[in-house]
C-alpha cells in the first residue's frame, strides 16, 4: 500500500518536473469550456418595439470554448455555436414568428456560429473581440466590446474566467428583413455573459 502510493507520488513528481520547462517556455494559455451545464452563460438580445420600448429575449442553448491567457489577452480565441431554435422572448407565438421563414428561418438555418479572428486589448481587461458571425446562413465580420469580469478558483475545485460582451448587429447584413417591424427594428443589440471552466 505504502509502496504503491510512494511510487505514485514519485511518478507524479517526475512528470511535473519534466513538464515544468515546457510550461515555462510557452504562453500559459488555457482552454476553457463555456459553463452550459451550470448555465453560467447568457446570450441575450434587445430589439426595438415600435420605437417605444424593447423586446428582450435570449438564446437558451449554445456551446463553445475559448482559450485565454491573462498575460497575453491578444492571443485569446473563442468559438461559440448557438441553437437558434432555442430563442425565447417569453411569448411562444412571437417566438414562433421570429423563428419562421419571415425572420430567422430556423428550419433552414438551425445554428449560428461565432469564431473569433483576433483580439485587440484596450487595457484593463477590456478589448475588442473580432470574429465572423454566421447567422441566417450568412457570414459577416463583427466586433464585440469585451470586458474581463474576473477569474480564479471556484469553490468546487475548478478554475473559471468570466467575460461580458456587447455588439450591435444590422439584421439586413444577414439577409433578415425587419422592415415591416418599423425603422427602429433594423438593428439588434446583443449582450453576452460567458463564464468558462478551465479544462
Amino acid at each position: 500500500m505504502n509502496k504503491t502510493s510512494f511510487l505514485g507520488k514519485s511518478l507524479v513528481a517526475g512528470l511535473m518536473a519534466a513538464s515544468l520547462p515546457l510550461m515555462a517556455g510557452q504562453a500559459q494559455a488555457s482552454d476553457y469550456t463555456i459553463d452550459t451545464d451550470g448555465q453560467h452563460a447568457f446570450i441575450q438580445f434587445k430589439i426595438s418595439h415600435l420605437g417605444y420600448s424593447y423586446v428582450l429575449g435570449q438564446f437558451k442553448e449554445f456551446s463553445g470554448d475559448f482559450s485565454y491567457d491573462q498575460g497575453k489577452p491578444e492571443d485569446a480565441k473563442v468559438s461559440v455555436e448557438v441553437d437558434v431554435d432555442s430563442l425565447d422572448s417569453a411569448h411562444a407565438e412571437r417566438d414562433k414568428h421570429i423563428k419562421s421563414a419571415d425572420f430567422l428561418d430556423v428550419s433552414q438555418y438551425p445554428t449560428a456560429t461565432f469564431t473569433s479572428t483576433g483580439f485587440e486589448s484596450t487595457g484593463d481587461g477590456s478589448g475588442k473581440l473580432k470574429g465572423d458571425l454566421t447567422l441566417h446562413g450568412q457570414t459577416q465580420p463583427v466586433t464585440l466590446d469585451v470586458d474581463h469580469i474576473g477569474g480564479g478558483e471556484d469553490p468546487w475545485g475548478g478554475y473559471r474566467q468570466g467575460f461580458e460582451g456587447t455588439t450591435t448587429l444590422k439584421l439586413a447584413d444577414y439577409g433578415i428583413d425587419t422592415s415591416k417591424l418599423g425603422p427602429n427594428a433594423a438593428t439588434v443589440d446583443l449582450y453576452l455573459v460567458i463564464e468558462g471552466i478551465r479544462q
Binding site: A92, D95, K96, S100
Partner: protein, 180 residues
C-alpha cells in the same frame, strides 16, 4: 324533432353541423389572412384574438357534438356499400382532423404556459407547455391539417351534392331540416 331517427337528423345535429361548417371555413380564411398581415396592420392583434376565441368555442361545440352523436341513433347512410364505407371513413377523418387542428392550435398559443383568453369572457389554461419547438411544430401540424380538413370538407360537400343531384336522395335535405 330533437332526436335523430333512421330517416333523418334531429335539430341539434343540424344546427351544430352548420355552425361547425361556418366556423371551420371562417377560421381557415381568417387564419390564412391574418398570418399574412404586417406588424403595423390594425388587425394584427385582433385577428388572432378572434381566431383563438372562435377556435376554443368550436372545440367545446365539437366535443358536445360528438357526445350527442354517440348518444343518438344514426340515420341510414345513402348510396352503395362502398359509398357508405367511404362516407364512414370520410366522416371519421373529418372529426379527427377537426380535433387535430384545434388541439394543435391550442398547443401553439399555450406553448409558453400562457392561458388562452376566449372573447375576454374566460381563460383556458395551458396544460402542455415548454416542449422543445412546441409552437413551431404545432404550427406546422395546424396549417397542414387545416389544409387537409378544407380539402376533405370540399369532398364532403361534393358528395352531398352528388347524392342530391345525381342519385335523387334526400342526403342534403335531411341536413337542412329533420325528416320523419
Amino acid at each position: 324533432m330533437w332526436r335523430n331517427s333512421r330517416r333523418g337528423w334531429g335539430w341539434p345535429v343540424i344546427v351544430m353541423h352548420w355552425l361547425s361548417a361556418l366556423a371551420i371555413v371562417g377560421l381557415f380564411a381568417l387564419g390564412w389572412w391574418m398570418t399574412s398581415l404586417g406588424y403595423y396592420d390594425a388587425w394584427y392583434q385582433l385577428g388572432p384574438w378572434w381566431h383563438r376565441s372562435v377556435g376554443v368555442i368550436l372545440l367545446v361545440l365539437t366535443l358536445a357534438r360528438l357526445a350527442w352523436r354517440w348518444s343518438q341513433t344514426t340515420p341510414q347512410a345513402h348510396g352503395t356499400r362502398n359509398e357508405q364505407r367511404a362516407a364512414l371513413v370520410g366522416h371519421v377523418l373529418l372529426y379527427v382532423l377537426m380535433l387535430v387542428v384545434m388541439i394543435s392550435g391550442y398547443l401553439i398559443s399555450t406553448a409558453d404556459g400562457r392561458d388562452i383568453k376566449v372573447f375576454d369572457l374566460f381563460e383556458v389554461p395551458a396544460v402542455i407547455s415548454g416542449l422543445k419547438g412546441q409552437a413551431s411544430l404545432a404550427g406546422e401540424v395546424h396549417w397542414y391539417a387545416a389544409c387537409v380538413l378544407i380539402i376533405l370538407s370540399l369532398g364532403h360537400a361534393a358528395a352531398a351534392f352528388k347524392h342530391h343531384l345525381l342519385d335523387g336522395q334526400d342526403t342534403l335535405r335531411r341536413m337542412i331540416r329533420p325528416l320523419r
